[in-house]
Symmetry: C2
Subunit: 340 residues, 2 copies
């Protein structure tokens, strides 16, 4: 009876695939100057947004994305049964404080930059399991709050390594429902922690890429649906370096991911001209690309099957200072424009 | 079809209640000198346990509890389908690093001190929803890692307020299974964030008590099972002050919780003689009391129905320094010795 939806160690197949009800995102000035400038719902002109701290600005960003998603679906917060959120800030105050007035039963998550996929996974399983009719998945990140927490306050003007990525100032919210016109979440693959021994906190792409390979290759095997079955395979925030590592790891298996594979960190910025080095990162990176680009494109008919793979680096400044390596994780959600 | 297991805004009723397969805990020297000294599985005599940092000691503690739970159930980690963990440390490195080698598909959580109940809730729903046959819920906290992160390094010898609580050095792991001889998880009530406006980070009990009241009173209404239907109602770490506030809030509603109500923070220490002021706190507090005392007592037939209510304060040192209030949350899990 139980465990019946499991296809293998990582992948579950949802019996009644939940539908996206609506999605919305808000992002910073720099993100609004990138390739997605036309499709981000709310672009702020001032990254502090009238708040008195970067942390509060991040919470404000999430609140805007959440409200916009509700507005698009013409529902109020009371119509949502359950809320899954998380972010990068210590004790997840970005999302907790952002939505503390929503009064929706709430599970807080910590999946680092994989949070959009983690929250979608749990929200989808909650609906398919019969525990909720409507669920919210939401996350945020902010360049300024992340830099001062993980690295140095911006005022120090520290130089960034060529492998470094740029934390996205952005937030995304997806509302899922038991019924709707799609895209649908048909499969969820939960990642195990993969620690490849990388200790360079300026090279997160390398730290997370093995986890992305691990979850994706498990998904291909467990479902029997290889890369060729999907129109887009997208990782969360490996950036240009991590993206290449994933390509190489699959190439070693004789699998060419080809043009159908991309990374949100490489899609959100024009890396060559926006001075973001290896690309975007942060919970907001995959959240904004999903809500501004991927789901709208699916609704427009551009793609039928998309593997959305949130990637996270599970270290902390303290663990890094203590010389420990950076464990990675990758959670995969398959979106399909059809119910299978 | 979906949302069918919902009894109300907060409470879901599990169709096929998952069973506790085994539980185990490890705790520090001080905890081993308290009222539960005879029933804690592993008591360490040195809180650093041969590790080179408090954070690593916390991870080690969790690893011990996890391994002990596997041993008790005579299974290895590969038998577990999914793992839910979280802790208080920034970026949850206590639990992530503790179990990063387990190779079990993993969802990281941040529910502050409510994590034992949050992880049990999600693990139970995962099994009942058909997504896993066996799931792990685990969490940890450590007095020394928590003090230096939330307050001051111990070496400063700071004086503690009378309302302050003592973060438990301890970790707990519960293995759940689709079948077994109990105790069973029959209901889960997910808390919404409740912010009563408390800004005193030395009085967490007062900050979290309104959330405990909120979730418990919703559970009573939504199930029709009032306090009199349960042998034990236990909050996670409100301590002696928060416990009294919960009693008072229910008294205002004409409900006497009486002797059946207690708090893990008041149970784990002998508050009068162990110099812990208002009692124990931290993720490990409710985890250790659950694994060392509550579940074994249920198996021994002492209690048939227990409401285990994990309480969490969702602030951070940064949010506190910025003058913000402390939001609370409370997640409830009902354990029953019967399948209903």
């Amino acid at each position: 009876m139980n465990g019946k939806k499991r296809l293998g160690k990582h992948t579950v197949c949802l019996e009644t695939p939940p539908s996206v009800l609506s999605m919305a995102c808000a992002a910073g000035k720099k993100e609004g100057e990138g390739p997605l400038r036309q499709s981000i719902d709310i672009v702020c002109t001032d990254d502090l947004q009238g708040q008195d701290s970067w942390e509060k600005a991040e919470s404000f960003l999430l609140r805007q994305a959440f409200q916009k998603a509700l507005d698009k679906a013409s529902v109020d917060a009371g119509a949502m049964d359950i809320l899954f959120t998380g972010d990068l800030l210590n004790q997840c105050v970005g999302s907790t404080f952002g939505l503390r007035e929503s009064n929706i039963p709430h599970y807080g998550l910590y999946g680092a930059c994989s949070t959009m996929a983690e929250s979608l996974s749990l929200a989808a399983m909650c609906i398919d399991g019969g525990f909720a009719a409507r669920a919210v998945a939401a996350t945020s990140s902010h360049y300024c709050s992340a830099e001062r927490q993980y690295r140095l306050p911006l005022d120090y003007g520290a130089q960034r390594a060529p492998t470094a990525q740029w934390t996205v100032t952005g937030a995304g919210t997806v509302l899922l429902s038991e019924t709707g016109s799609g895209p649908y979440i048909t499969h969820v693959a939960t990642g195990a922690i993969v620690d490849a021994g990388i200790t360079d906190a300026s090279n997160m792409g390398a730290a997370m890429a093995p986890a992305a390979y691990d979850t994706l290759s498990a998904f291909f095997k467990e479902t029997g649906m290889g890369p060729e079955c999907h129109d887009l395979i997208v990782t969360g925030d490996l950036g240009t370096i991590g993206l290449q590592i994933v390509r190489d790891l699959f190439r070693d298996d004789g699998i060419e991911l080809g043009d159908r594979y991309n990374d949100c960190g490489a899609m959100i910025f024009d890396c060559a001209v926006q001075d973001v080095h290896s690309g975007g990162s942060g919970c907001g990176c995959s959240a904004v690309v999903l809500c501004a680009h991927i789901l709208p494109q699916m609704r427009a008919g551009a793609w039928k099957s998309v593997l959305f793979c949130g990637t996270g680096a599970l270290h902390s400044p303290v663990s890094a200072a203590q010389g420990d390596s950076i464990p990675g994780v990758c959670h995969l959600v398959r979106f399909s424009s059809m119910l299978s």
